[in-house]
């Protein structure tokens, strides 16, 4: 980047200053809302970072990949073997797997945005309160989880 490029304004294009919703909300959305909860909260974050067009395909791929992995593991009988080890009902175990996939999605998306989270932390930026995206992500994610568990139980 030349000196002229460095002195070209970067922030004038933003409607609001770039920032992130707090990471506690992100974790909780992934925990209670599974991969869809993690994906929706992350989409809200990428929107605030002004990177929606660039990051959304990756977030969708991670979310879809989490469900596809569960379907694949179910097809291979891995989930059934894991279920017999864990005990409990199939529905209950599926809830645990979906939640674990939510956390894995959180981890993958967090890695994608790690530089931003760290930059916010080291520069002392107060994160945005994540109630609205968090509640929306948990509700939509929970509904998606119920639908997925019902679907996988009947296949």
């Amino acid at each position: 980047m030349s000196s002229d490029d460095l002195l070209r304004p970067t922030l004038s294009d933003y409607r609001k200053p770039p920032s992130l919703y707090n990471s506690t909300g992100f974790f909780l959305s992934a925990f209670f809302g599974g991969p869809v909860g993690a994906g929706l909260y992350a989409a809200a974050n990428t929107f605030r970072l002004g990177r929606l067009a660039r990051d959304l395909p990756v977030i969708i791929a991670i979310t879809a990949g989490a469900f596809l992995l569960l379907i694949e593991l179910d097809g291979m009988g891995v989930l059934a073997r894991l279920g017999s080890y864990l005990g409990g009902t199939k529905a209950r175990n599926l809830e645990i797997y979906v939640r674990a996939m939510g956390i894995a999605s959180f981890g993958a998306i967090y890695l994608l945005h790690r530089g931003y989270f760290r930059a916010a932390r080291v520069s002392g930026v107060t994160p945005l309160k994540g109630w609205i995206p968090g509640i929306a992500a948990v509700l939509a994610g929970y509904a998606a989880n119920i639908a997925f568990i019902a679907w996988i139980q009947h296949h």
Binding site: L7, T10, S19, I103, R121
Partner: protein
């Protein structure tokens, strides 16, 4: 103060003397007397804005600094102060335009590159922040603003790994507040709370009037409190530790229920207690201490 008439420059000098020593009330008194006599003097108005800014009264500081710029639109310190105020109040785009206009007027000022870099870091533009710090260091390889910005960028980029930017900053400015700040941030990021607390405490003893240091030491004291020690893995590895705690908890507890049911219940209660403790205690201790 004596009653002999003084020039605005002398009053500004007195005010600056008090500001440097963080004697804000004395500075405010001198300036209000001076401004009665020289109400339009740009330097007196600028120092007034500085006093309000240091007292965290951003709105008043902004109003006063804008008065300076009405009478002297070029006044570089006033433009720099306005950029700081705008950054603090979240008006990043306006702060950026001001810093760019300053850099166009002073294209070889490493301080300005350092400040622009810090603004970009705050606006989460890590790449540009790094490039700006690098550009500033081309003009002065030991400039503390740029070294600090570079160290913070490196901490943001690579976390607990060895930080060359920080090493350079500490070597060039071992006593500066910037070094302390960057070092403490890097240590906290690496989960080395105890060391961060000690360093910040040492710096605070040297500059007890610095409110930023006082609040930093307070926060680190909370994080370093003996009752927070059990939460060290969560402080060190953050959400990664939370995820491991949850998934590991389920696997370990299920295994115990299958293979050693007699210890499963106490362990599950201990695990649940730890989870609740990690949620409830940190906000509580912040209120207590």
């Amino acid at each position: 103060m004596n009653d002999t008439p003084q020039s605005a420059a002398v009053i500004a000098e007195q005010a600056f003397y008090f500001i440097e020593r963080r004697r804000l009330e004395d500075a405010r008194r001198v300036l209000s007397q001076g401004l009665k006599e020289f109400p339009q003097d740009a330097d007196l108005l600028f120092h007034s804005a500085q006093v309000e800014w240091l007292a965290d009264r951003n709105k008043e500081a902004e109003e006063t600094v804008r008065q300076v710029l009405v009478s002297d639109p070029f006044h570089p310190p006033a433009r720099q102060l306005l950029a700081s105020i705008l950054t603090e109040t979240g008006e990043f785009a306006d702060a950026e335009l001001l810093l760019i206009s300053l850099l166009r007027d002073f294209p070889e000022s490493p301080d300005l590159y350092g400040r622009y870099s810090r603004l970009m870091l705050r606006a989460l533009h890590l790449d540009k922040a790094e490039q700006l710090a690098r550009e500033g260091l081309r003009y002065d390889p030991e400039n503390d603003e740029c070294l600090m910005a570079a160290a913070l960028c490196e901490t943001a980029r690579s976390g607990a790994r060895p930080n060359q930017g920080l090493e350079k900053l500490l070597k060039a400015h071992p006593e500066s507040l910037s070094s302390v700040h960057a070092l403490v941030v890097a240590l906290v990021d690496a989960g080395r709370i105890n060391e961060a607390h000690r360093i910040a405490q040492g710096a605070m003893r040297g500059d007890p009037a610095n409110e930023h240091l006082v609040s930093l030491v307070r926060e680190l004291r909370i994080q370093n409190h003996w009752s927070m020690k059990p939460l060290w893995p969560l402080q060190r590895w953050g959400w990664g530790a939370s995820a491991v705690m949850w998934i590991g908890g389920i696997v370990v507890l299920r295994s115990l229920y299958n293979f050693a049911p007699e210890v499963a219940t106490p362990v599950s209660f201990a695990w649940l207690g730890y989870c609740i403790y990690s949620w409830v205690w940190p906000p509580l201790i912040r209120r207590i201490l």
